[in-house]
């Protein structure tokens, strides 16, 4: 089993806040290639019952958490994103302020057909300006030889 600093598991980062800008939602939708007007045109979004531009589901990834303490893992040279999971409780609109906290939930080593890999699970909590949890996330980072 790969060595790491277990004392870091479960330690929550201090929150970082982000103002959700219309331009950021537009640019994000444009980068995905999603032309739905609710991401570009405030009147189109309001016609659908939203108070302003609404954030696309994976926009959560733009809210980067404070860097977590070092797990002190010496392994491999390739870092890959293994997966992303989100659970949604409230919409995120332009004009909201979203704060994000993160913590390492688990570290596991597995051997597959391409050799050994280390999986690092990070859990994220996203809150709006009213303190409501709008979403939670779970990211799997992979360290590969």
């Amino acid at each position: 089993m790969v060595e790491f600093d277990r004392s870091v598991l479960g330690v929550e980062s201090s929150p970082i806040s982000y103002e959700v800008e219309k331009g950021a939602i537009r640019k994000f939708a444009e980068a995905i290639g999603d032309e739905d007007p609710m991401y570009y045109d405030e009147q189109a979004a309001q016609a659908l019952g939203f108070k302003s531009l609404v954030a696309p589901p994976t926009f959560l990834c733009t809210f980067r958490a404070q860097e977590l303490p070092d797990l002190k893992i010496q392994f491999g040279r390739v870092r890959l994103n293994g997966g992303n999971e989100y659970e949604y409780f409230q919409p995120i609109y332009a004009g909201d302020t979203i704060s994000v906290t993160a913590k390492y939930a688990d570290v596991a080593e597995r051997t597959g057909r391409t050799g050994s890999m280390v999986f690092i699970i990070t859990e994220l909590t996203y809150r709006n300006q009213r303190g409501e949890v709008v979403a939670i996330g779970r990211n799997t980072g992979i360290m590969r030889e």
Binding site: D36, G82, G83
Partner: protein, 145 residues
């Protein structure tokens, strides 16, 4: 965008989610790097990617593939806020020049806590028949009654 509303009453287990096709370019990866804030060079710098162990060069951001799968769902759903859970794992590399087909299918249909829910399997497949991302999504649908 005029959407055909999807009602819980009208969908069945086994029904497909309308397919969305994407043809990523390196330019799109640069745009996504900027819009998402993920500037890891394996997504736009060929030599960096090769040196990092990716012998065929740059790869698509996992979260961009996730963004396409989310777009497939929000194109189909009455509102992006209908999406309750969304999760994907990345299994194979997607590269600039690939044709990525985002697909999905309803696996379960049920009522829970007053919400009419469908669980879908979702995946993004390249032209080589490799599944670049696989996952599941849960959405709440309106009813006719």
């Amino acid at each position: 965008m005029a959407k055909q509303p999807v009602y819980y009453d009208d969908v069945n287990v086994g029904d497909p989610v309308p397919t969305l096709e994407k043809r990523p370019t390196r330019r799109q990866l640069v745009k996504y790097a900027g819009a998402s804030g993920d500037y890891y060079e394996i997504h736009y710098d060929h030599h960096f990617a090769v040196n990092a162990g990716l012998k065929d060069g740059v790869i698509v951001h996992g979260l961009l593939t996730a963004g396409w799968l989310a777009q497939m769902l929000t194109d189909w759903l009455p509102s992006p806020t209908a999406l309750k859970k969304f999760g994907v794992s990345y299994r194979a590399m997607a590269r600039p020049g690939d044709t990525i087909a985002c697909q999905g299918k309803i696996m379960h249909k049920y009522v829970k806590d007053g919400e009419h829910l469908v669980d879908c399997e979702i995946y993004a497949e390249n032209q080589r028949g490799e599944k670049c991302a696989v996952g599941t999504a849960t959405a709440a649908l309106p009813t006719r009654s």
